[in-house]
Symmetry: C2
Subunit: 342 residues, 2 copies
C-alpha cells in the first residue's frame, strides 16, 4: 500500500490495523476510551499509510464545520490584504480555514462569489462590501450563516459591523492642518458613493465649519488613475488655491504625491499633504508622509472575535463597533507659506 493520502480512507486504516472504522475514528478524534495497545497500533498504521481525514466527509456528517468565507472587493489593495492577513492569523489560531474570494467592482460578480462561498456551508462569513447598498445582505440573512461586515457599512443593516471612526480621523486631520495655520484645504476622494468616504469628507467639512474656516473643496477622482488623479493639477492652482491636500485613500495619497512632484510643488514647502493608511513607503519618502493610520490589524481581529461570538450563538443584538484611527505626524505637513495665508 503506497502512501497516497488522497486515496486512503479511514476504512483502509481500519483494515490494515485490524479494527473497526469506529475505533479509528475514536483514536483520531479522541472521543472514547481506546486501550493503549490498540491506540498505538492504529496510530502507527495512520502514519505508515499517510492517512489524512477527508474534510468533505467530516463536514457532511457533522453539519457544522470550520471554514470561514472572506469576501473582499479586491486583492490588489494592500488595505484589504492586510485585513485578510489579520483574519488568517486569527483563523489559524482558532483552528479554522478561510476561503477567500474577491468580487471586483462588479456587484453581479459579488453575488455569484457570495453564493459560491455559501455553498461551502461556512461556519461564518466576513464581508467587505464593494458598495454600500450591499444588495447581498438579503442573501446572507436568508442563509442563516452568521456574518460580520467590515469597513464599508451598508446603509441599513441588522448585522454586526466593525469599521473605523471616520469622523474622528477626519477631525484629527483637519485640526492638525488648522493648527498649523492652513485655511484652504483640498480634499481628494475616490468617490462619494461610498459611505466611509462620505463620512471622511463630512468630518473635515464639519470641523472647518466649526472653526470658521472656508469650506474645503472636494475633488472626486474615481478609482483608476494611471497618471495622477484627473483635475488635481487645476484644483491646486488659481484663486483660493489650497495650501494643503488631504488624500482620503492610500492610492490617492500616491497619486497626489506624484502629481505634486510632477507639477513642481515642494512638499511641505509649497503644499502640505496628509495621506491615508500608514504604509512602509510613507516613511521612506522625502519628506516622510503625515498620514492617518487605520487600525487594520484590530479591524480584522475585532471582526473575527465578533464572528466567533455569533457562531457560538450569542443572541445579542447586532453590534456596531467603531475603531479609532491615529494621525501620525511626519514631514509632509508644515505651516503654509505666509503668502498662502488668507
Amino acid at each position: 500500500m503506497p502512501r497516497r493520502p488522497g486515496k486512503v480512507s479511514i476504512r483502509h486504516v481500519a483494515e490494515a490495523a485490524g479494527v473497526s472504522v469506529a475505533t479509528v475514528s475514536n483514536v483520531v478524534r479522541g472521543r472514547k476510551n481506546v486501550s493503549d495497545a490498540v491506540r498505538a497500533r492504529v496510530e502507527k498504521t495512520i502514519d505508515t499509510l499517510g492517512y489524512l481525514p477527508n474534510r468533505a466527509a467530516m463536514q457532511l456528517r457533522e453539519g457544522r464545520n470550520r471554514i470561514v468565507g472572506v469576501l473582499v472587493p479586491s486583492l490588489d489593495n494592500p488595505f484589504f490584504t492586510a485585513i485578510i492577513a489579520s483574519i488568517e492569523n486569527c483563523a489559524r489560531r482558532d483552528g479554522y480555514d478561510i476561503i477567500v474570494a474577491s468580487a471586483g467592482e462588479d456587484s453581479a460578480l459579488a453575488s455569484s462569489r457570495l453564493k459560491a462561498l455559501l455553498s461551502w456551508r461556512p461556519a461564518g462569513m466576513i464581508v467587505l462590501p464593494n458598495d454600500d447598498c450591499f444588495a447581498d445582505a438579503g442573501l446572507l440573512d436568508a442563509s442563516g450563516v452568521p456574518y460580520v461586515v467590515l469597513d464599508r457599512l451598508p446603509g441599513a443593516s441588522v448585522a454586526d459591523t466593525v469599521a473605523v471612526d471616520n469622523e474622528q480621523a477626519a477631525t484629527e486631520i483637519a485640526a492638525h492642518l488648522a493648527g498649523l495655520g492652513h485655511r484652504h484645504m483640498l480634499v481628494v476622494a475616490t468617490t462619494l458613493s461610498l459611505a466611509n468616504i462620505r463620512e471622511r469628507c463630512a468630518g473635515i467639512l464639519a470641523y472647518c465649519a466649526r472653526a470658521g474656516l472656508p469650506e474645503p473643496r472636494v475633488l472626486e477622482v474615481g478609482h483608476h488613475f494611471e497618471d495622477g488623479p484627473p483635475g488635481l493639477t487645476e484644483a491646486l492652482a488659481g484663486a483660493n488655491a489650497p495650501s494643503a491636500v488631504i488624500a482620503l485613500t492610500n492610492s490617492i495619497t500616491l497619486g497626489a504625491l506624484r502629481c505634486l512632484h510632477q507639477s513642481g510643488y515642494a512638499v511641505p514647502g509649497d503644499m502640505s499633504l496628509v495621506g491615508y493608511d500608514d504604509y512602509a513607503w510613507m516613511r521612506a519618502t522625502l519628506p516622510p508622509i503625515t498620514a492617518i493610520c487605520q487600525p487594520v490589524d484590530a479591524l480584522g481581529a475585532e471582526g473575527w472575535s465578533r464572528l466567533m461570538l455569533r457562531i457560538a450563538g450569542e443572541g445579542t443584538a447586532p453590534l456596531q463597533v467603531r475603531l479609532a484611527c491615529t494621525l501620525v505626524v511626519r514631514g509632509s505637513t508644515a505651516p503654509p507659506r505666509t503668502g498662502n495665508l488668507s
Copy 2:
C-alpha cells in the same frame, strides 16, 4: 418553508416540486434530458426555497473537486498577495475556488498548514516554499495531488516550477549601472539562504567579473529591520565606498531608501539606487525609483496554467519555467559623481 439555503437540501426541493432527487440533480447539472415543464417547475422551486447545492456532499460523491490550495510564506508581503490576486483571477475564470494559507517563517507551521490544505482533497496545489530545502515536497509527492512550485525553487525537485530569471535581471541591473559609469556597487540582500537571492547576487558578481569591475560587496540584512537595514550606513562610507546601491527585495528597497535619506545622501546625486519589484509608490517618490519589475501577474498565470495541465493529466516531464524581468529605468540612477569614479 422559509428560505434557509443552509438547511434546504436537494431532497426538500424534490419533495416540494413533486419529483425525485435525481431529477432535481439533472436539472441543476444539466446532465440528462428533462422536459421543459418539469425543468421550469424545479427551477422555480429552487428559487423560492433558496436552495444551494452542498459542496461537501458534491465533493464527497465526485471524488474530484474544484478547489486549489495556495500556500504562501506570508500575506503581508505585496509580492505574495499580488501573486494570489493573479491566481484568484484565473481560478474564478476556470470555476475553481482557492483556499489560502500562510505559513510564516516557520517550517513546522508550513507542514501543518500544508496538511490542513491537503485534507480538503484539493484538485491541485500552488506552493511558494518559505525556504529552499522545501522539506514538504515529500508530503506533497506522496499525496498524489498535482502541484506547482512558484518563485522559490526547491533544491532538487521533480515538480513543475515557475520562477523568475534572476540571473537575467541581475545582469540587466549591473549592465545598467556599469553603463552609467559605476564601478563600486553595494548589493543589499535579505539572506543568502534563499536560492533566488543567491542567484541575484551571483548574476551581479558574474557581470562585474566579466566587465573587469571590482567585486561588489554583498550585505546580508535579514527580513526584519524597522529602522533601516543594519550595517548599511557603515557600508556606504569609507574607502572603496560604493556609488550605487542595489536592493534585492521590495522591503529592502524601502529600507535602503529610508537609510539613504536619513544619512543625508542625495539620490541619485550622491548615490544611485536600484530597487526590486515595481510598485506604485516607486513612481511617486522624488526621484522615482529605477527598479526591476518582476512579472507577478505572469508568474501566477503561468503557474495556474501549468497546474491545469497537470490536473488534466498531462504526463509530461516536470517543466521548469523561467520568466524574464524588465528593468524600468527612472530617476534614481545617474552617472556617479566624478569623485567617486576610481
